[in-house]
Amino acid sequence: MRQRKRMLEELDQDIRDHIERETQDNVERGMSPEEARYAAMRKFGNVTRVKEETRVVWSSIWLEQIIEDIRFGLRMLRKNPGFTAVALLTLALGIGANTYIFSVVDALLFRPVEFTDPGRIVALWERLPANGVDRNELSPANFLDWKAQNHVFDHIAAQGWWNANLGGVDHPEHLHGFLVTPDYFAALEAQPMLGRTFRDEEGTPGKDRVAMLSYALWRDHFASDPSIAGKTVLLNGMDYTIAGVMGPNFNYPSGAQVWAALAFTPQQEASRRSHYLHGVAHLAAGVSRERAQAEMSGIASRLAGQYPQTNTGRDVNVMPLVESEVGQMRAPLIIMLGAVGLVLLIACANISNLLLARASSRQRETGIRSVLGATRGRLIRQWLVESMLLGLLGGGLGILFAYWCLQAQVIRIPPEFARMIPGWGKISINTPVLIFTSVVSLVTGLVFGFLPALVASRQNMNDTLKEGAPSAGSGWRRGVLRSVLIVSEVGLSLALLLTAGLMMKSFVRLERVPPGFNPDQVLTMSVALPEAKYTSDQQTANFYEQLIERVQNLPGVQSAATANMIPLSGMNGTSAIRIEGSPEPKPGQEPEANFRSVSNLYFRTMQMPILRGREFTSQDSAKGQPVVAVNEAFAARFWPGEDPVGKRMRFSGPLQDRPWRTVVAVVGNIRNQLDLPAPAEMYFPLRQQTESTMALVVRTSSDPRSLEESIRAQVVALDRDLPVFDVMTMEDLRSVSVTAQRIGGTLMAAFAGFALVLAAIGLFGVIAYAVSERTREIGIRMALGAKPREVFLLVVGQGMTLAFIGLLVGLPLALGMGRAVAGLLYGIGPNDFATFASVAAILAAIAFVACYIPARRAMHVDPMVALRYE
């Protein structure tokens, strides 16, 4: 570049010098000075044009040639519409699928939560190394000690779930709310769009009736009122002052609609046993996460020394907030991205193959160009420009395809769940995605164009200019190259097919896991009774019993019950317990079990087997003998080989002054998650363990959805301010609980299917081409007495050999892929022989079909025609 500038700057002087010298020569030859100068000028020619041409040398030859190459490339693509259409379709699907998956990865992994400085924001969890738990909720007392004792955070805040019933509107609505400590927004470096966030004093009981609205809630329910700050809103039957409104980009925790100030009661402040808080903190300036981790671990071990009963073995886990949000998503998403990348690689191999075939038919064109002085580099560039054009055009179509995938919701998740996936709402074809796609398109063009360009440019011009005859040597080499491409296509397809097979099989197994109850024709919906209005356990229990009775009497209802947490919903409540007669446990080693509070008839409604003992009845009232039902897993763990009925247990920890409870029943295990074995669980009668938020479960004799409105009407009849939420059938819940596996399996199957089609087309192309090249040879064989059957076997044999080599080559890759997805599989190992055998058989069968058509054609070659050919 510098050379160019200097050379051009000095050009004027050079030209003057030149003319000077010529003039001098002319004078020496005896011309008059004037004549000499004129002759020199004439001999030099047009100075302006010379300068112009010299400038062109430096500036634009490269660019001009590229433009020329692009024009030529476009002409060639137009001239071969068949090839162009096949290549573009392949690329559109391949690049489109990559674009689509990347748009999901981009939203879910790269920007699930948007903060000004995500590197300084961390999530805080309790870690229990002994139990292998590294993300456990915090207890209020531990959180307050962390807050008081650390020197590494400038803000440390906690947040907990909050059911907020929005009142004062025509239709009461349940909001997804969170209670947060006042410096929550400061810890996240989040500014309100309107008004202010919470003040420190609002974190004390009595001053905590303040709320922040989410942008969507403000827009939809408050008509985007710009002067909303300072007004009041009715939540759970109480007036809350609206402090402010968060901006449209603030969506944390994912799906939050309203935040209210969290104030601990003195009793909560002392609690180290109830773990229900999520911690977030902002690193102080100059403090690294590692240093924060070290200090927090120190605090945790001091607390463990101070409170051995509750804190033994409890460490702190300081992790980047983004990591905490997306951690579990990462592996499956990266695997999907890798798989879809493999699909594109197969598409590349296929197009390479088509281009290699075209290199043969364009031999003469290439030959002529090289005779006319095109260098090898120039020829290669011409081919690469052509393939990159294809790549870009395919990428353009791919973007349209990806856009269609988004619009058609190829990956469908029910909105009430999608809402809680950080980043889900942000999936779009945005600028980063477009940049990704452009780069992928260009690289794709280079990858599939590279081999054909090398081969096509390495032509012997003498051979190609001779009429007709394709040169034997280069044809053979090309045949080998095409075979190598086919072998790799088959190998890659095997890997994808195996992965898809494993994931589909795992999904099917998961779907078939009996949940322990009958999910058919059960409708569930939740109700949260505001504590301001339902002040006593008795009031609450009365409400639910009345509701159950009303619903029971509806036509079409077989039976109805309530439970505070229903299976497969992802909700669990755990408590430390003591078994009567067992020795005092060591600190930190108290046994724990899940517990549910259920109404009478719950087991009957869910159709759970009662293995021993009896159902809960109206005698299990608040004043009756305290009772409990346990599941098989509980019985097996705490009373192995004994009859649990009549044995006693009680809570440990904060509720340890509650009375001993007598076991009255053993019920069957139910799964809270289909892929995990049932944990030990206890059931308490509604009247003896009353919870304000309950899910109604209703078994119906017809389509459960048809009863939704009449059941809602019963709730309204009891309390017209009470919203119903999370309305769904048990079948929906079961199906949603395996959504990840279903999406993974079906996407993988789609990728593998596409790969299979590509490999089949590729194999077909190579075999058909080989047959057409060997027409003469086949003709001779048949003239010499070969039977059509033998010719058929010859051709099929060639194709199947390639396919089998491909299977062998693909085997290690397939095993590797299997191992990579092993963590996502349920009930099946990555080396499952049956899956291996069946996908290999499928591939072989497809390969056979791909060879069959050209082989049939070879069988019907007419020897006479073949010999006259060429």
């Binding site: 010098d17 030149h18 030099f44 020619g45 010379v50 041409e53 010299t54 430096w58």
Partner: protein, 120 residues
């Protein structure tokens, strides 16, 4: 210029000038004017080179790295740019010469029968 003279002079083929420049520089580094003179002299004035067209050619060769340029003083102690063949240019010259011979030979073989029939 008479019409006869014009017919005997040949317009240079695209790219041939580059070859001639390289050939001239094989004898040693020299400046632009001297190159033009040498081409005219060696071709006995048959090749009609507009001297100016030498410069785009020189720049093209510099850009490709086939020749380099350095400052120097000419025979009469004047400042001048000396163009010099690079090793790369030397190889290129050999290659181009072979190509040229081949092309010239091929064209000659095609044309010879016509000559033998005595057609002008």
């Amino acid at each position: 210029m008479s019409s006869k003279e014009q017919r005997e002079r040949i317009e240079l083929l695209q790219g041939t000038l580059d070859l001639l420049i390289l050939r001239t520089l094989l004898l040693g580094p020299t400046h632009g004017h001297a190159i033009a003179k040498a081409i005219e002299f060696n071709s006995e004035d048959v090749l009609q080179v507009e001297q100016g067209s030498l410069y785009p050619g020189l720049h093209r060769l510099i850009k490709r790295g086939w020749i380099s340029v350095e400052e120097g003083t000419s025979e009469n102690n004047r400042r001048a740019k000396f163009y010099k063949l690079t090793p790369k240019g030397r190889r290129q010259l050999a290659l181009e010469t072979r190509k040229w011979d081949k092309l010239a030979g091929a064209i000659a073989r095609i044309l010879r029968p016509a000559e033998q029939e005595g057609e002008p």
